[in-house]
């Protein structure tokens, strides 16, 4: 900060008021305030406002927050401890590699002989497919018949499970409503308290105002009586003079 102060420099005045300026500039401002009415009254006004701020005191509730962290589990033996990520990746690669090499080792080595024996293989595949298809057809028919005979049972099961779900949902909704109702009750108590306090303040203000009014009226009556007394005295004195 420079060591000069310009009249009306509000930033410097604020720094002076909060005692956060250099000692040199502080002296300069102090000297200036002795002769400058405007800056002096500015500082007084700001300081007065700061004084009023001290009236705003927050409530002092018992807080007592505590951080509680669950105790860590006792150390696991090395064979039960989880592996680090890199070790898991290496293990996965190893298993994949072993599987691949086993697969390659079991693959038939005589590829050219496939051309000569292609016809019987195709027959075998066709026969197997027809057998499979007929098996599948029979299985499907049996399942469909079973489904027809027991068609009502699953519906009843579904509806029973629906009832359970509905009950759970209703219970959750009821809990939520209850919670909201409780919260709202607390809020309404607070509002009612605020209202009552305000009413008391208003009553006290009214009483005070009425008291002032009564005091003023009393003074006025006394003054009127004194004036009447003075007039009566004056009349009495003038009558005596005659």
């Amino acid at each position: 900060m420079s060591e000069t102060f310009e009249c009306g420099d509000t930033g410097a005045l604020v720094a002076y008021m909060y005692e956060e300026c250099e000692p040199e500039i502080r002296e300069v401002i102090a000297t200036h305030l002795k002769r400058c009415e405007a800056c002096s009254s500015e500082i007084d006004g700001l300081s007065w406002t700061r004084g009023r701020l001290q009236a705003w005191v927050p409530p002092m509730p018992e807080l007592r927050f505590q951080m509680s962290v669950p105790a860590p589990e006792p150390g696991l033996p090395w064979w039960r401890a989880p592996l680090p990520a890199w070790a898991q990746a290496v293990a996965a690669l190893l298993i994949f590699g072993v599987g691949l090499s086993v697969g390659l080792a079991r693959r038939p080595a005589t590829v050219p002989s496939q051309a000569s024996s292609s016809q019987p293989a195709a027959v075998t595949i066709d026969t197997a497919s027809q057998t499979d298809l007929s098996d599948l057809e029979q299985r499907l028919r049996a399942e469909m018949a079973q489904m027809r005979s027991t068609a009502a049972t699953p519906v009843r099961q579904v509806s029973a499970s629906d009832d359970d779900i509905m009950k759970k949902v209703e219970a959750l909704v009821a809990q939520s409503e209850e919670r909201q109702r409780r919260e709202f009750t607390l809020r309404s108590v607070e509002m009612a308290r605020e209202f009552e306090t305000q009413r008391r303040i208003d009553m006290a203000t009214v009483r005070e105002t009425v008291g002032q009014f009564q005091g003023a009226a009393g003074t006025e009556i006394r003054q009127q009586r004194e004036a009447i007394d003075r007039i009566n005295n004056f009349i009495r004195v003038s009558q005596q003079a005659r």
Binding site: Y18, A55, A192
Partner: protein, 196 residues
């Protein structure tokens, strides 16, 4: 033996929960007071205060001690207050439940304070709180941090992310407006005694 904040932070970072609880005991009141003055409601301030310590504990591994622990804590609390104010602005207005009787509830929670004390305390406090609400958020926060938490201009500038000169301007303009607001509410400044 009283440990410094830095020592307690270091211990907390290495997993000592008791050290963090000592920090809570040390700072819960200032943080609560800050939240109360910014938010204006005891319950909200309590929640914000609790949330501040929870967040601080979680973020402790990332706190490298660049700033003072208290400044860091104040910053968390102010951010939470700001979020809280935004959330409250969006919250819908509720309806009074039908079976709640406020008068009956009030009778159970009657304050035990004498009427004179209550009037004096509430009147002054309410006027100042009301006047403070007329300030901008930046001015109000600057005044709260300066007047009630004794921060330096530089600390407030760091917290508000603005130049030092802006902090002085906010304080000057905030206090000036506050004075006008107090005068408007019948709390005018008494006649000044001339400086000698």
């Amino acid at each position: 033996m009283t440990r410094t904040d830095e020592e307690l932070v270091a211990r907390s970072r290495s997993g000592d929960v008791d050290s963090f609880n000592q920090l809570i005991v040390r700072w819960e009141r200032p943080i609560f007071a800050l939240a109360y003055r910014v938010l204006g409601r005891e319950e909200d301030a309590r929640d914000v205060c609790q949330d501040t310590f929870l967040r601080a504990y979680r973020a402790l591994p990332g706190f490298k001690g660049q700033a003072k622990f208290s400044s860091w804590l104040y910053r968390i609390a102010l951010n939470l207050c700001r979020d809280w104010i935004r959330r409250q602005q969006r919250a819908p207005v509720s309806q009074m439940p039908e079976d709640v009787d406020p008068a009956a509830l009030l009778a159970e929670t009657e304050p035990a304070e004498s009427i004179e004390d209550l009037v004096a305390r509430r009147e002054l406090s309410a006027i100042v709180a009301d006047a403070m609400r007329s300030l901008s958020e930046e001015q109000r926060t600057a005044i709260i941090l300066k007047e009630y938490h004794g921060m330096t201009f530089q600390e407030i500038a760091d917290m508000q992310g603005c130049p030092l000169s802006t902090v002085k301007t906010r304080l000057y303009q905030g206090l000036s407006q506050l004075r006008r607001q107090l005068e408007r509410r019948g709390q005018g400044m008494p006649q000044l005694v001339k400086r000698t």
